[in-house]
């Protein structure tokens, strides 16, 4: 078993902030837009270093998406920043028409996704954004797992031409991927090799999946863990390849089990290799206030829930 160590808890949004700071220095075409959440999105550095390339749009997310689309005309690469709910559901039609259908090179960067946003509660905790964005033709959808990966992804999406949705979060979580990683859009990362079950996890659930795999290993179950940071385009091959070996799969995401990663995997399997699958995800409920840990626990989004799902799905082989 590979050993992964937490180099010190950090929030993924700070990984975004660090990536944006770096892009500010290295790529003069990068511009940043924010809808009155500069601090929450960790965009202060970029703002301070490049005031002329930072655009405060106030509390007007629809306008922000339109402006970002327009800014690409003439060669800018706009990064928009607000909470995940206001980055997607609030502005779906604007993204659809002015960005996705118009094929504009806009990077939609979304913090505070999922229940781990915590105390603000359900109105802010979107659990549908992966589904929303994955349905848009031409959109790339990424959900990173830790600080280092979020920073690497931020740098990578600037190089990729086309609309991107980059999803990250608020709480401090384990930082375990390598600092100097090369982020390959659309390429799944197999973190653990295993034979008994495949765990396909994204975002904050990847670390939980690794913890689960360790515990499972102790009880003699060998779990393959795939970090599926890119939900669209989905790395079908990696998933199918693994599932053919293990014969069952658990998907894990901080998202409603309807419409998200889990259903994408179910579809790929139904088309290519029908397989028992369990879904670690929220069960079609809104979230609520609480600490991130309490909510992960209550809504079944942690290593324990993954372990339970693994036992169940292995029993179904």
């Amino acid at each position: 078993m590979k050993k992964y160590t937490d180099s010190g808890k950090k929030d993924t949004r700070s990984g975004f902030g660090a990536g944006l700071t770096e892009l500010g220095k290295t790529n003069p075409d990068v511009v940043a837009l924010c809808a009155d959440l500069t601090g929450s999105l960790k965009m202060d550095d970029f703002k301070a270093n490049h005031p002329e390339r930072f655009f405060q749009v106030g509390i007007a997310e629809a306008n922000m998406m339109g402006i970002a689309a327009g800014m690409t005309i003439g060669g800018k690469i706009p990064f928009t920043g607000t909470f995940a709910n206001f980055s997607t559901g609030r502005v779906y039609d604007q993204i659809r028409q002015s960005i996705a259908y118009s094929d504009k090179n806009v990077k939609i960067c979304a913090s505070h996704a999922g229940v781990t946003l915590g105390e603000d509660g359900a109105t802010h905790q979107i659990l549908e954004d992966i589904g929303l964005m994955k349905m848009l033709p031409g959109m790339t959808v990424i959900n990173t797992c830790d600080y280092n990966q979020t920073k690497a992804a931020t740098l990578a999406i600037a190089e990729h031409h086309g609309p991107v949705y980059l999803r990250f979060g608020r709480p401090k979580v384990a930082n375990f991927t390598s600092e100097d990683q090369n982020f390959e859009i659309g390429k799944a990362v197999t973190l653990q090799q295993g034979n008994d079950v495949t765990i396909v996890a994204t975002g904050h659930l990847v670390w939980e999946a690794l913890q689960a795999a360790e515990t499972l290993n102790d009880s003699g179950i060998s779990a393959e863990v795939i970090n599926i940071h890119t939900i669209k385009p989905l790395d079908d091959k990696a998933i199918i390849g693994s599932v053919k070996k293990t014969g069952c799969v658990v998907t894990a995401e901080e998202h409603n089990f309807l419409g998200g990663l889990g259903e994408s995997v179910a579809r790929v399997l139904a088309e290519q290799h029908p397989t028992p699958q369990e879904f670690v995800a929220t069960q079609d409920t809104f979230g609520e206030s609480g600490t991130p840990e309490q909510l992960m626990d209550k809504y079944g989004l942690n290593a324990e829930a993954i372990i339970k799902a693994v036992h169940k799905v292995i029993g179904r082989k």
């Binding site: 009155d36 106030g58 629809a62 105390e119 603000d120 359900a122 809104f286 206030s289 609480g290």
Partner: protein, 300 residues
């Protein structure tokens, strides 16, 4: 249900004159609500004290003097005035005033933002908390909802009023202007929308983040009656302003109260800044804040 029954109140700015409301009691309540706000957000180290403190006088005036409310809560709210909070993040003041107006046990303020609580970070109907008729938190939606409730009142021949509160930064959301345009076009004149004009939003003063120009001119250009309430932290002024607004209802136009407030009012180090928009005081800061607002009606 108000502690100071309406019938005993002097209705300022209107022809009806009744008894003087017990202002000293209400001033005590205001101080107590400020304590409740500080203690709620301190306990969970999250929530929004700044806007809450700035709107304390407004909520006290509304629930204790202005609104014609029923004793028990019913979602349908027939035969009474209704209130909608659009800027849901100032839930601490809303919860405190609701509790202290009898909607739910005051001790329940202890559960603010805790897991399994009815007192969610932003107000919601989802947990069945009496006093809340719609969820808010995602900004910009409350005026539309209030308009709908106002139109149902008209359909039901219910001549009670609808009140709503929104933030000034919140008015940057376009949905508000859809609603503002619609309300004038449809002569929704049983509606009073108050704007918490504290000049602050998350990233700084509204004038720096996205200058909104002359709000009065904007509402008037959109066909509303506008009342400027220049001291939204003076209880008497708030009662007068809201009564003036009331007297402007029924005249074919929706009514807007531009209420100037001080964000963080009543806690000196929180005042006049956006810094405390969404940040809780630490232990020491709490002590200072509470000392500036000594217990009056009893802590929960």
């Amino acid at each position: 249900m108000p502690f100071v029954p309406l019938s005993e109140c002097l209705i300022f700015g209107t022809e009806k004159t009744t008894l003087m409301p017990d202002l000293s009691y209400l001033e005590d309540l205001i101080v107590q609500v400020r304590r409740d706000i500080l203690r709620q957000v301190h306990k969970v180290n999250s929530g929004h004290p700044g806007g809450s403190l700035g709107c304390t006088e407004f909520f006290v005036a509304l629930y204790q003097v202005i609104m014609d409310r029923k004793d028990s809560f019913e979602m349908d709210g027939k035969g009474e005035d209704l209130f909608f909070l659009s800027n849901g993040h100032i839930s601490p003041v809303f919860y405190s005033v609701l509790a202290r107006s009898g909607y739910f046990p005051i001790e329940e303020l202890n559960t603010f933002r805790l897991i399994d609580s009815r007192l969610q970070g932003h107000p919601t109907t989802h947990e069945g908390l009496p006093g809340i008729r719609v969820a808010s938190g995602s900004l910009g939606q409350g005026i539309s909802v209030a308009i709908g409730a106002a139109q149902t009142k008209k359909l039901n021949n219910d001549d009670h009023l609808i009140y709503a509160l929104c933030g000034d930064g919140e008015l940057q959301e376009g949905q508000n202007w859809e609603a503002i345009m619609y309300a004038a076009a449809n002569e929704i004149d049983n509606l009073i929308v108050t704007v918490d004009r504290n000049g602050q939003q998350i990233d700084g003063p509204t004038d720096k983040v996205l200058p909104m120009g002359n709000l009065k001119a904007k509402f008037e250009a959109f066909g509303w009656t506008v009342i400027e309430l220049d001291n939204g932290n003076d209880l008497k002024a708030v009662i007068e302003g809201l009564n003036t607004a009331k007297s402007e209802t029924g005249k074919g136009k929706p009514v807007c109260v531009l209420m100037t407030t001080i964000m963080g009012n009543g806690v000196d180090f929180m005042m006049h800044t956006h810094d405390w928009h969404g940040k809780a005081p630490n232990d020491e800061q709490l002590e200072i804040g509470l000392a500036q607002n000594p217990e009056t009606l009893g802590d929960y």
